[in-house]
């Protein structure tokens, strides 16, 4: 391990690829003949495999949740603030499994992968997915890793939906479900933002109905625009006010001068859009936003969330953030009410933050304290199970 990494970092990590040759039947009725999952793990699996924690990523997430891929990396994994030795998801106690889901674009089978039937990238032909397809693919990963029951399945945003679906699909294979800044289903406003993002991508002349890879081009502008729209909805008005205000990056309002003016916020958004469109896949973005839109936890339970959670056996931790308007505290309260109605154990904290939806990724003392205290109990339980009492 490189000594230049912070002491509470998992340090240098290396992704691994798991290959699944058994066909996976998807919710849409189609079959994925084979698939690969790219996975990172942190910490040690204990003797009875009672200390495994699954991390479910959000819309643009992936397997690289913590640590560094090389000593030159400027930034650690996307949830490094919460995963590591002594951190809330304490890698001294837990064996943490983070993966890139199918449909993703960071190495797991998705629209960018080669379809063995055609020898060409899947592109727009990649089957549409639902959160439950992820759950089933993750269950097979667990089996391959020798994990019979997760100590906890943890996810924020779309990842929280993934985690809740786990609790209903495989109730006896997890002891805790941690749902952060999430919802049982998206509101119309939320779907609307996703549709605008999708339209931005589809309107790019380089999109070619999703067949851009075979034409060796990329709908960069559309994807950048989609990301810019998304990004605005992940931040709060207050935060944008304090971080950017009306500060100018260049130009001046002085009379008699005609210099081009650029606000800080414009330059920031442009940068976010451009760097995202250089690394993310447009078809994956379309697919992921549809998984979000179509998710409805209680649909198959007569649209009754209490009935849905009646099938769960695990305990729940639900966290929301005061300034999050994309997945507002109200959505989390609905989850909590349904859990209480179903007589499930649940802890709920609404964390004061001005960081908007992004708060779930960022350091925050109270968030940390709630998360840490809860996960310490989960770890105690895992230790007890390992000791066999």
């Amino acid at each position: 391990m490189n000594s230049s990494f912070p002491s509470d970092s998992v340090g240098l990590v290396k992704p691994q690829t798991y290959v699944f040759d058994e066909p996976l039947e998807l919710a849409c009725g189609r079959i994925l003949p084979r698939y690969e999952l790219v996975v990172e793990t942190y910490g040690e699996l204990n003797r009875t495999a009672s200390n495994a924690v699954l991390i479910c990523h959000a819309l643009s997430g992936h397997h690289h949740a913590a640590g560094y891929h090389s000593p030159e990396d400027k930034k650690p994994g996307w949830w490094d603030a919460y995963i590591g030795p002594g951190k809330p998801i304490d890698t001294n106690r837990f064996y943490v499994v983070a993966l890139n889901n199918i449909g993703g674009c960071h190495g797991s089978t998705g629209p960018r992968s080669i379809n063995s039937a055609t020898g060409k990238p899947w592109g727009r032909d990649f089957p549409p997915l639902r959160a439950r397809d992820w759950v089933h693919s993750q269950a097979r990963l667990a089996a391959k890793m020798g994990i019979g029951q997760w100590a906890a399945v943890v996810g924020g945003s779309l990842g929280g939906m993934n985690a809740m679906r786990w609790a209903l699909e495989y109730p006896d294979r997890l002891r805790h479900c941690v749902v952060i800044a999430s919802a049982m289903k998206l509101s119309a406003q939320n779907i609307a933002f996703n549709e605008i993002a999708r339209r931005a991508i589809q309107s790019d002349p380089e999109f070619h109905q999703g067949d851009y890879l075979s034409r060796e081009t990329l709908p960069r502008n559309g994807l950048a625009l989609a990301r810019m729209i998304g990004h605005v909805t992940y931040l709060s008005d207050e935060l944008m006010g304090t971080r950017f205000g009306r500060e100018l990056r260049r130009g001046t309002f002085e009379r008699g001068l005609e210099a081009p003016i650029e606000f800080q916020v414009e330059s920031y958004l442009r940068h976010q859009g451009d760097s995202f469109s250089g690394s993310f896949d447009a078809n994956t973005y379309l697919l992921m936003t549809k998984i979000l839109d179509y998710f409805d936890l209680a649909r198959e339970y007569d649209h009754n969330p209490v009935k849905a959670f009646g099938h769960a056996l695990c305990k729940f931790l639900v966290i929301s953030f005061t300034s999050d308007w994309r997945f507002s505290p109200k959505r989390s309260e609905e989850i909590v009410d349904a859990l209480i109605g179903a007589n499930r154990d649940v802890v709920y904290a609404n964390i004061e933050s001005e960081m908007g939806h992004d708060a779930f990724l960022l350091p925050n003392p109270r968030y940390e304290s709630v998360f840490r205290t809860y996960m310490a109990k989960v770890a105690d339980e895992a230790d007890k199970l390992a000791r066999g009492n």
């Binding site: 909590v336 009410d337 802890v347 205290t373």
Partner: protein
């Protein structure tokens, strides 16, 4: 919360029942009820440190501002709704009591009795708002904005046709304990009430 209060309160709660604790503090009561009566409990709390204390005890705690209403809890969804020493800190205690009786089949409420002789003497003799061991705040910084006496509380129950199933009192000295049995409004430091909906419409309060 005092041990004595706990012991009294426990007698009014059925084993294996569902309990909602408004202003559950550090979760000690719910932990105790879970251990001794196998109660499935949920606590509502607003203070971050107390919420963390509940989590550390493994108690179900839901961050909630009780003053914003409890409309999201269905009618009769709990066997007992408990509120210990929080009544006087609410914006509208009367409305919260209505909600407690709607959500719970029965309720338990405890509050500091402002009619206690000590309090009365303090005000009479010094002409200043009482500051005692139990009520240790100054008038300007106290969270306790709606003090009441035993008689005030019972008058409210009469007005709302709330049925008082049991009443108990807590006092710190033996003599006060004895006297509080006869004159609760003078000698009870803390009053504990076990309430239910009006006799004639126990099934439906609407």
């Amino acid at each position: 919360m005092l041990r004595v209060d706990l012991e009294i309160l426990q007698k009014w709660i059925a084993p294996d029942s569902r309990v909602l604790d408004l202003g559950c503090g550090d979760g000690a009561l719910l932990e105790r009820l879970r251990e001794s009566l196998n109660v499935e409990g949920y606590g509502l709390e607003i203070d971050p440190e107390r919420i963390t204390a509940c989590i550390a005890r493994g108690v179900n705690v839901i961050e909630t501002d009780i003053n914003k209403g409890l409309a999201h809890f269905p009618d009769n969804s709990f066997d007992t709704v408990v509120m210990t020493n929080s009544l006087q800190a609410l914006k509208r205690p009367d409305l919260t009591i209505d909600e407690m009786l709607r959500i719970g089949k029965e309720c338990v409420v405890t509050f500091p009795n402002f009619g206690a002789l000590r309090t009365r003497l303090y005000l009479a003799a010094r002409g200043r708002m009482p500051v005692t061991k139990q009520l240790s705040y100054q008038w300007y910084d106290t969270p306790n904005i709606h003090f009441c006496t035993v008689r005030d509380f019972e008058a409210l129950c009469r007005e709302k046709t709330i049925r008082i199933l049991d009443r108990a009192t807590v006092a710190s000295t033996a003599i006060e304990r004895q006297l509080s049995g006869i004159w609760p409004n003078l000698f009870a430091e803390t009053a504990i009430y076990h309430l239910s909906k009006h006799q004639n419409n126990t099934g439906d309060t609407r």
